[in-house]
């Protein structure tokens, strides 16, 4: 197997040999496929997945799919060591350090590497092995039997089998040991450690033709096209849309009424219906630019961030719990990230900066040597919570092994890939992407960028905090930094001091009361006995005789009252204790920041063949997908500031992603904003801009928006403004039969789609019309309430509720109303919400006691505000629920219903119950749930 004396082949040359082999095979197979694969038709069909359940047509997708199957299977064959007739280099190549280092990383580095170097041994490099630890070198080249590491492993001393779970390692298997032995026997050969960076030569895996796909080319500032009816264009968006409509013989639908528009923009920008005052003000505003003023006004509302922050929290997969295990291990400080996102939207933080902070906030500015934590540094660090959101079981030893960690890393890569880059990156985790030019190698180059912070061999566990609320202070964790804004720390200290003082005051009072209590209690005791007791009490407990101890024990209820007894004894003390308990329940953990930060000492990254950590392949180094950069592009990686103990890799990635003209970054974001206003994206597959994604319906508009977004300083609010003031957006949602025929699925936007409220908007609206909305913002999540039968309701405080976004976002206990209205499980994130229509929604809205309670609050509010006039109450109810007054018919209908309901023989025998029933019906109506 190992020919001694032969020159070791460098891992780079092995790697390119591996790639070349693949490419040759791919070309060969592609040619065969194009010739009809005649000889092997049946087998081919089997491989390609025809089936009776889903008769597939030979579509373009199918072509790619089948090609993909061939390419991938070929790559797999080519990369499998010793795979029969397939030419392979792996087994022919002499062993090098790259064959053994992955084994040592996996089995040995938890104790002998990184910050924990037991016996002063660091196994992560050959130099470290030769240098050895306290007991000498770990290996002697050429002498495996005499090498300490081989002995230790062979004797079962390492890894110690009583500490396997605690250290999250497995025993070294026989084949790994054989490989280690063989490598040492061969003299522990080392190949030069050249950097793996994209070279100037042609990349065998990604060609220039691959770079020609539309989404991999920078967006182009197309001029708005000319249209036949330019009076219908309010801004360039309309020209792009109208041009296509006119080509189909269509035009825009009429403009929606101002009431409709107000309701539309209110829900769209703030997630809440307009109030009665807002409706009145808007209706009275006759200035020509009233509409755009209103758009500005809503954009300036702090409610805007609560609506649009939620969109981004879906992208990030925000959760207040770690997940993947039964226990809801709470993320004590995740809410800071939620608040950061809301504030970023409210302050219109430029999107490029927003991304840089979330991907590399820890490398943007030096927080370690800063004299105090500024708001900017705070934001930078909190923002890195973005890639800490995936479900994570690694806080527990038994689910904290390398494969578990690797899953968490893969999820983080997916959040970045799908949410920011619009690529189905996960496919390339196990093999080169079947459809897009994303080689397996490029996935691992991306993984290497994150190694300084997400290192499966040097892992920080989630902060382990017992469940049970804020006051339950567990040990401080590894994934948070002991930093806080000065004002927050001060407030925390002040509160702690207050608690301490109150506690001390209670203690003093307890002593005082105890004395009084004794005196009263002992008054009825015979004097001799009383004196004996008092004598005993004057002594220190340790100085009492056994008789005295026994005596005091006998009279314990008289002489040593507990706190409960004292509370009964003195009403004032009870009040004091209750106040103290309230104060203590508001006790918060020491403020820290949950973050992701580079630790400056990353493990090397090896490709995991088939995504399997037990099958390490060639070593790779940090880099961005080749298809998104010019041939020979090198990521400019430098330490973020002089002397920084950080790699600067993520900062380089963040800067590359936000470079002007990046093909994906701006397109993905404008498409996301567009989708959330217009009901569907210009690219319908918002998380897939690759070949299997949907092609853009208006490619030039997408590019124009992307370029404009960048040109306007990546301002998301400007983007909203642009879209909302377009004629396209202001269309009515009516469907006429011509539009239905020519544009059945509204691809060309011949009308606004009728849209159902998202779960949060529906719930918040129910609370808002009932006047039960508590608009306090930010802070720790509000716990949900889970009934024994499984019904989960949003947490409340008396008869008020905070907005849904401030509720505890758990993985297994989602408020039922949000769940039935399609709040998704975050596995790991969500790019498009479902819009289902199912019976449980009806059942919930009709039967749920909290919805009925809110109907009652709605009714009482009407009675309170519009005292004693049923007619006006009906008008008010319609205005609040539908943002419009009732028509004459509706008003009469409601009035008649109300009257009949309130009849002594009617179903509701009080005016209150009758109005409640009416309000309940309004909340249950289609008009409440849908936005025109």
């Amino acid at each position: 197997m190992i020919e001694s004396g032969s020159k070791p082949m460098s891992h780079e040359s092995r790697f390119s040999a591996w790639c070349r082999t693949s490419v040759q095979w791919v070309r060969c197979l592609a040619a065969w496929w194009l010739n009809g694969c005649r000889l092997w038709d049946k087998a081919c069909r089997l491989t390609l997945g025809f089936n009776v359940l889903q008769p597939n047509l030979l579509t373009r997708t199918f072509f790619y799919r089948s090609m993909g199957v061939l390419v991938v299977s070929t790559l797999m064959i080519a990369s499998t060591e010793g795979a029969g007739a397939v030419p392979t280099t792996a087994e022919d190549t002499p062993l090098s350090q790259h064959d053994v280092l992955p084994i040592l990383l996996l089995h040995c580095s938890p104790c002998h590497g990184g910050p924990r170097q037991e016996a002063k041994l660091d196994v992560r490099s050959v130099r470290g092995l030769l240098q050895g630890g306290q007991t000498g070198p770990a290996l002697i080249p050429g002498q495996p039997a005499a090498s300490r590491m081989i002995q230790r492993i062979r004797d079962g001393a390492c890894p110690p089998n009583t500490r396997l779970v605690e250290a999250n390692v497995k025993l070294v298997d026989a084949s790994s040991l054989a490989k280690l032995t063989a490598w040492i026997a061969a003299g522990a050969p080392v190949v030069p450690d050249e950097p793996d960076l994209a070279g100037t030569t042609e990349d065998p895996l990604v060609t220039d033709a691959d770079r020609e796909f539309w989404s991999f080319r920078p967006p182009v500032p197309h001029p708005p096209p000319t249209v036949r009816n330019p009076t219908l264009t309010a801004n360039p968006i309309d020209a792009f849309i109208l041009r296509q409509l006119e080509e189909k013989g269509l035009s825009f639908s009429p403009e929606a009424s101002s009431q409709t528009l107000l309701r539309r923009i209110s829900y769209d920008l703030t997630g809440l219906p307009p109030s009665a005052e807002e409706i009145a003000a808007f209706t009275a505003d006759s200035r020509p630019d009233a509409y755009s003023r209103w758009v500005d006004r809503l954009l300036a509302s702090p409610r805007y961030g609560e609506r649009w922050g939620r969109v981004w929290l879906d992208v990030a997969g925000y959760s207040d719990a770690e997940g993947k295990r039964e226990q809801h291990l709470p993320r004590a400080f995740a809410y800071r990230y939620r608040d950061y996102v809301i504030q970023a939207f409210n302050s219109d933080k430029p999107y490029d900066r927003f991304l840089q902070e979330q991907i590399a906030g820890d490398e943007l500015a030096d927080y370690e040597n800063a004299p105090s934590l500024t708001h900017e540094l705070y934001d930078n660090l909190v923002a890195t919570g973005f890639l800490r959101m995936p479900p994570d079981p690694t806080w527990a030893n038994i689910t904290g092994f390398v494969p578990d960690r690797w899953d968490v890393i893969a999820d983080a890569m997916e959040v970045l890939g799908s949410g920011v880059m619009g690529l189905t990156m996960r496919c390339a985790q196990c093999h080169s992407h079947k459809f897009d030019p994303l080689p397996h190698r490029d996935y691992f180059r991306l993984v290497d960028i994150f190694k300084g912070a997400l290192d499966e061999y040097h892992w920080l566990k989630p902060d382990l905090r017992p469940y049970g609320g804020a006051a339950n202070l567990g040990p401080l964790g590894e994934r948070s930094l002991p930093l806080a804004l000065p004002e927050e720390r001060q407030a925390w200290e002040i509160q702690n001091k207050a608690i301490q003082e109150a506690s001390e005051a209670a203690r003093v009072e307890e002593v005082r009361l105890t004395a009084r209590y004794r005196t009263e209690q002992l008054a009825s005791v015979p004097e001799i006995l009383r004196n004996q007791i008092l004598d005993a009490l004057t002594l220190q407990p340790t100085n009492r005789t056994p008789e005295q101890v026994e005596l005091l024990k006998q009279h314990a209820t008289r002489v040593s009252p507990d706190r409960d007894a004292l509370k009964k004894f003195d009403g004032g003390f009870k009040a004091q204790c209750d106040a103290l308990a309230r104060l203590e329940s508001s006790k918060r953990p020491e403020p820290r920041i949950a973050a992701l930060w580079d630790r400056g000492d990353p493990s090397p990254t090896y490709i995991y063949r088939r995504g399997d950590y037990q099958r390490p392949g060639p070593r790779v180094q940090a880099g961005v997908p080749a298809v998104l950069s010019k041939p020979g592009y090198r990521l400019n990686i430098t330490p973020p500031w002089p002397g920084a103990k950080k790699t600067g890799r993520r900062l380089a990635l963040a800067r590359w992603l936000t470079e002007p003209g990046h093909p994906l970054t701006s397109r993905i974001m404008v498409n996301r904003v567009w989708r959330n206003h217009m009901g569907q994206g210009i690219v319908k597959t918002v998380g897939n801009f690759g070949r299997t994604g949907a092609p853009p319906s208006h490619p030039e508009l997408l590019d124009w928006l992307a370029v404009e977004f960048e040109r306007q300083g990546w301002s998301i609010k400007n983007l909203h403004r642009l879209i909302l003031t377009s004629r396209t957006y202001r269309q009515s949602s009516r469907v006429d039969s011509q539009a239905l025929q020519m544009d059945p699925d509204n691809t060309y936007l011949s009308r606004m789609p009728l849209r159902r409220l998202e779960g949060e908007a529906l719930w918040d609206a129910c609370v808002a019309v009932a006047d039960c909305l508590d608009e306090r913002r930010y802070g720790p999540p509000i716990p949900v309430q889970t009934r024994k039968d499984g019904l989960v309701t949003p947490g409340r405080s008396g008869t008020v509720w905070r907005r849904s976004i401030y509720g505890d976002q758990l993985r297994k206990e989602i408020p039922t109303i949000l769940e039935v209205f399609d709040l998704p499980p975050m596995n790991p994130n969500c790019l498009v919400r479902n819009e289902s229509t199912v019976a449980p929604q009806a059942l919930h809205m009709l039967n749920d006691s909290v919805v009925r309670e809110l109907s009652n609050h709605f009714a009482r509010r009407l009675q309170r505000e519009l005292r004693g006039d049923p007619q006006r109450q009906i008008e008010g109810a319609f205005l609040l629920a539908f943002s419009r007054p009732p028509t004459g018919t509706e008003s009469a209908m409601a009035m008649a219903t109300l009257r009949e309901l309130a009849n002594p023989g009617g179903d509701a025998n009080t005016p209150d119950a009758a109005l409640t029933a009416l309000c309940h019906a309004l909340i249950n109506s289609a008009e409440f749930l849908y936005v025109d």
């Binding site: 079962g156 799908s418 189905t424 019976a839 179903d907 109506s925």
Partner: protein, 496 residues
């Protein structure tokens, strides 16, 4: 794009918003399945006629579909034993454990032990085994009722899985994958072949009123399949579905007047908005929600059963009442054409880290009689010929003891073991009275005729007439299957 954010990214293909498309896709949530079926029953026929365009995903409904080949089983009842029942104390007797009782063994299996600090020596089973039926099946004394059905069972002693922790092992046994977000077995089945009854959900989950199992609702998720295929929880006591009935009797909406008002509001709203099929669908969902109550109530009402039947299941007395009710409900559902019924127990009653002696007795007492009654009842009604009943947990337990803090033999238990566990199957297509596969002499690992979880999944699908390779969904550019990228085999040796 994700392979794991099914509910958001992987939905059905974008189709024109026709009325028909809406009916096809307006499914999901807690009991979307039931709704969908009712909808189809009402509107399916007329909606199909003469609708233009619109490629409809063939799977977005629950109407029965032809399997790949003739099915042996029409329905499945899965008796899921969460926690990991001890194979060596129930169905896989190991005399060697008696012989080597007390011998140190930890070092040989150190890498496979979760709780290292409490690992003890080899421990014999505290229970006696004896042979039963014509087949001579060995069954522990803890399961006297099931033992009487010995000749109906095919016991697989050589199952193994790949993770020793509950949560991931549950994901594996239910979805074939060690991660969250993949569809469960029952979802795959109803996705593949729909359901016989269009008035009840196709995939019903009977969870324990005393509490959810570990992983909660993730045990019956549809993952990235359309949400219509998600398991629908039916409670065996009280309201079978959350909010199926108003919580306040005689509350406002019970009023026909208010209902009439709502109906007229919706009709006016609809009338002013032509060509908006989702509005019609929503109105229908309100009407149908009411009708679903009737079908579910009837199916779940045990008072329609004879006193003798109730008694056979152990209903009306402890500790069998709760599990007995669920077993009886399962029969009633299968009888009505429900495709897949899954019965859970609260928490992890089979997770005997300590006190296996008392704990196993209690777990068996709760389930033994109801399960035996279910088998017998199905047989008497001729349903066992078409119903597959399967029993098992997510993994097995170790042959060595796990010691309690007091280190006593009396309170010892067994730790998790992924290398061997026992499952059994009965009913449709099963070669009754068989024992398949074997573990080593200590019962630590399956060594003979090993059956992986994907093998087991492939076998179940096979009994339902489904080829596991041909049951897939295209999701995010990947062809996802229950059996994933594995190459499992159907365990034909236990089939007739």
């Amino acid at each position: 794009m994700s392979t794991r954010t099914p509910l958001c990214q992987g939905g059905p293909p974008q189709t024109p918003l026709t009325r028909r498309a809406w009916f096809e896709t307006m499914t999901g949530g807690l009991c979307g399945a039931a709704l969908s079926s009712l909808l189809r029953a009402d509107f399916g026929g007329s909606a199909r006629a003469g609708e233009p365009g619109g490629e409809i995903a063939p799977h977005a409904s629950l109407s029965p579909r032809q399997p790949h080949f003739p099915a042996r089983a029409k329905a499945v009842i899965q008796l899921f034993m969460n926690g990991g029942p001890s194979q060596v104390d129930l169905f896989d007797p190991k005399p060697m454990l008696d012989r080597r009782h007390g011998e140190a063994y930890f070092k040989n299996i150190a890498g496979e032990v979760e709780n290292i600090s409490s690992a003890g020596a080899i421990m014999r089973s505290p229970f006696r085994f004896s042979q039963h039926g014509k087949s001579g099946l060995w069954v522990s004394e803890l399961l006297p009722h099931i033992a009487r059905q010995a000749d109906d069972l095919a016991v697989v002693r050589s199952m193994y899985t790949t993770n020793i922790t509950h949560e991931p092992a549950l994901y594996i046994i239910h979805t074939g994958q060690m991660r969250t977000g993949f569809p469960c077995l029952g979802s795959w089945v109803v996705y593949g072949i729909g359901s016989e009854n269009q008035n009840l959900p196709a995939y019903v989950v009977l969870d324990d009123p005393a509490g959810l199992p570990v992983n909660g609702v993730e045990n019956w998720t549809a993952g990235f399949l359309p949400p219509v295929y998600q398991g629908v929880r039916f409670r065996s006591r009280g309201a079978p579905i959350l909010n199926l009935h108003p919580e306040i009797a005689g509350g406002p909406i019970a009023s026909p007047l208010a209902r009439d008002f709502l109906s007229r509001l919706n009709q006016q709203h609809l009338g002013a908005r032509p060509h908006q099929p989702q509005l019609e669908a929503r109105i229908a969902s309100y009407e149908l929600a009411a009708r679903m109550q009737l079908a579910a109530d009837e199916a779940l009402d045990p008072s329609r059963e004879s006193a003798r039947t109730l008694d056979a299941y152990g209903i009306g007395r402890e500790p069998t009442d709760s599990y007995g009710r669920r077993c009886l409900t399962a029969r009633r559902l299968v009888e009505r054409g429900v495709r897949f019924v899954q019965i859970f127990i609260n928490g992890q009653i089979w997770d005997h880290h300590t006190g296996i002696k008392s704990g196993l007795i209690s777990a068996c007492q709760r389930t033994d009689q109801p399960i035996a009654a279910l088998l017998e009842d199905l047989k008497q009604r001729g349903l066992l010929d078409t119903t597959l009943v399967m029993w098992g947990g997510e993994f097995g337990r170790l042959p060595i003891a796990q010691l309690s803090p007091d280190k006593s033999d009396e309170n010892a238990g067994r730790d998790h073991n992924k290398n061997a566990f026992t499952v059994w199957l009965a009913g449709a297509g099963i070669r009754a009275g068989t024992v398949y596969g074997a573990t080593d002499e200590l019962g630590f690992a399956a060594v003979e005729n090993r059956v992986s979880v994907p093998d087991w999944h492939a076998t179940l699908l096979h009994l339902l007439g489904i080829n596991h390779e041909e049951l897939f969904i295209n999701h995010s550019g990947l062809k996802e299957r229950l059996t994933g990228v594995t190459t499992p085999r159907v365990v034909r040796e236990i089939l007739t």
